[in-house]
């Protein structure tokens, strides 16, 4: 394997892990409420920006990161409680506009509460690059991939081993039936928004040392995570992970071998192609509609 190819694969996997986290966030909210949350990217921004500002206040990294994740989870719950719940039963386009409105609101708040400058988080464990098959790997990439793997494992456990996780799955399969066995749909909505906000914030913290963070990073990251979710199959958890990693690799290889100017377009070309040719995505089931 040439060193160049190894380099592209490594950076693709790193970015792909981030896309996977964002896509998982989309997926959890979509399953619990059938809402596409366009504010998902803003959670990523909140994660990075809040960590940067807490670090600036003198907190150690671990506490700053925890604080940022908690803040994002709170914002997520507020979004569910005050914006999504009151609009239950509204049309697709109405819900889309509500979450986009929330994204604009959060971005505006971030630019006021924090600032409009670009912040770099320090790497978690130094900048000494590691040599892998002729390619250089930043230690932060290992953090990104490792923590993402842990988060995915924890999510698997949550959805398969805990009562709350199973309740969320039940609601996503059949709302009414879930209500009939005594599951509070409201609580499920709150938990799933908090969870996916926390995942988004985690992504923002992990990638902070590599791509930097600022008040307006949420839009593009959110939309790409969204393309990853579609590629994997909307609503499928394993699909979100596979979709995220695949998209990261495609983007990195495409930018390396085809055109770096069109790097950002790759995600959307892939998304459009998937929607036209196999709307179910890589791992999604065939959609059927009840009449």
């Amino acid at each position: 394997m040439s060193a160049e190819l190894a380099q592209f694969l490594l950076s693709g996997l790193t970015v792909g892990a981030i896309y996977a986290l964002v896509a998982l966030g989309f997926c959890i909210i979509y399953n619990a409420s059938h809402v596409i949350n366009f504010a998902q990217g803003e959670f990523v921004m909140i994660g990075g920006m809040a960590t940067a500002s807490l670090l600036g206040a003198g907190l150690p990294l671990a506490f700053a990161a925890l604080g940022a994740v908690a803040l994002a989870a709170l914002v997520g719950m507020a979004l569910a409680r005050f914006a999504v719940q009151p609009a239950r039963g509204a049309s697709v386009v109405t819900l889309i506009i509500i979450t986009i409105g929330a994204a604009i609101l959060l971005r505006g708040l971030a630019s006021i509460v924090w600032d409009k400058r670009i912040h770099a988080l320090p790497a978690f464990s130094g900048d000494q690059p590691i040599n892998v098959a002729g390619a250089t790997l930043a230690p932060q990439s290992l953090w990104v991939i490792g923590v993402t793997a842990l988060a995915v494992a924890a999510l698997w456990g949550f959805f398969n081993r805990t009562l709350t996780g199973k309740a969320i799955l039940a609601v996503s399969h059949n709302r009414l039936a879930a209500q009939l066995v005594g599951i509070s749909v409201q609580r499920v909505l709150l938990v799933s928004f908090a969870l996916s906000a926390a995942l988004g914030a985690l992504a923002g913290i992990l990638i902070g040392p590599i791509t930097f963070t600022s008040w307006d990073v949420g839009l593009l990251l959110g939309l790409k995570g969204f393309a990853a979710a579609i590629l994997g199959g909307m609503g499928s958890g394993p699909g979100a992970v596979v979709g995220g990693l695949t998209l990261g690799l495609l983007e990195s290889l495409g930018a390396g071998y085809l055109s770096s100017a069109y790097k950002d377009a790759i995600a959307f070309i892939v998304m459009l192609a998937v929607l036209m040719l196999m709307p179910g995505g890589l791992l999604g089931g065939r959609a059927t509609e009840r009449v």
Binding site: T94, I100, I230, M234, A265, V291
Partner: protein, 305 residues
């Protein structure tokens, strides 16, 4: 018909309230956005198909006409027509596979399309001037140049009335009834013998062509165009105008365009809070008036009576 006359009267009498060129400028922008929204409303409000990528078509009209006129020396009217036709053609080609999708999936596909167009516009800076934008020659025909706020006001006002007239007629025609049937239930419409694919495609192509025409006019009027007009956020602004004014209400689309074009001008008093207020207004109107302004007010007035 009464509504159309009322709109014509508003367009004809509005200059009495317009004191200076800045007022005229806002009125012209309102008119151009209203034209886009009346077209988009055919797609979103009547056919029930969400598009989050119409700024892309707007951009093809604007940049297409600008590039043909400025870089290749085409007469502006020919470039305007060619750019509009190009956007309609693209909508026709892409619309066939895309419109098979429903709900969220359609929204995502149009979103992807819009973003790809905006990335192409920003990247191909040899033609488009890249992120800095490009200047656009004024509209001219046979040596006569359309210049000045007043002349533009009458052109845009006339076009707006014509677009609304076209839209109202279309909605009352068999095609319009077919579109509304689709919105209600696609399956039921098909059972009643409506070719749903063809009608959805028609609404898509028509709304794209109208957006492109308005885009080309906006570019020639302003004399300058930047990629911001092609961005995802502009697509959202257009959809918000339609939904805010009221889906499936042609006059709602006009009102929505007027309010949301004027709003940012008013919001400048909030300075750094502008985005917060804009986002908040978007959320609150959708939560408390999911049907939009005009239908909600109409329902209120109906209840009073």
């Amino acid at each position: 018909m009464r509504g159309l006359l009322a709109l014509a009267a508003v367009v004809a009498l509005a200059p009495l309230a317009l004191a200076n060129n800045y007022h005229y400028e806002i009125a012209i922008l309102v008119g151009l956005n209203a034209i886009v929204c009346v077209g988009l409303n055919l797609l979103i409000g009547y056919a029930g198909q969400v598009s989050l990528g119409h700024a892309g078509f707007f951009g093809i009209g604007a940049y297409g006409s600008a590039i043909l006129a400025a870089r290749y020396g085409w007469p502006p009217l020919a470039s305007l027509a060619a750019a509009t036709a190009a956007a309609a053609l693209l909508a026709w080609i892409v619309g066939r596979p895309i419109l098979r999708l429903r709900g969220h999936y359609l929204a995502m596909a149009t979103l992807g399309l819009g973003i790809i167009i905006s990335i192409v516009v920003t990247t191909e800076d040899r033609y488009t001037g890249g992120p800095d934008g490009m200047s656009v020659p004024p509209l001219a025909l046979a040596g006569f140049t359309l210049a000045g706020e007043r002349a533009w006001y009458w052109l845009v006002g006339l076009l707006l009335v014509a677009t609304v007239w076209l839209s109202l007629n279309l909605i009352d025609s068999p095609v319009g009834r077919a579109l509304r049937a689709l919105h209600g239930s696609e399956v039921a419409a098909e059972v009643a013998g409506i070719d749903s694919a063809r009608h959805k495609l028609l609404a898509f192509v028509l709304s794209a062509a109208i957006a492109a025409l308005a885009g080309a006019l906006t570019a020639h009027y302003a004399g300058f165009i930047t990629p911001g007009k092609v961005s995802f956020l502009h697509s959202i602004e257009l959809v918000v105008m339609v939904v805010f004014g009221g889906m499936a209400s042609t006059f709602g689309a006009v009102v929505g365009a007027a309010v949301l074009t004027a709003l940012p001008q008013l919001l400048t008093v909030f300075k750094e809070y502008e985005m917060v207020v804009f986002g908040g207004v978007m959320m609150l109107t959708m939560i408390f008036m999911p049907k939009g302004l005009v239908p909600t007010l109409a329902a209120l007035a109906g209840r009073r009576r």
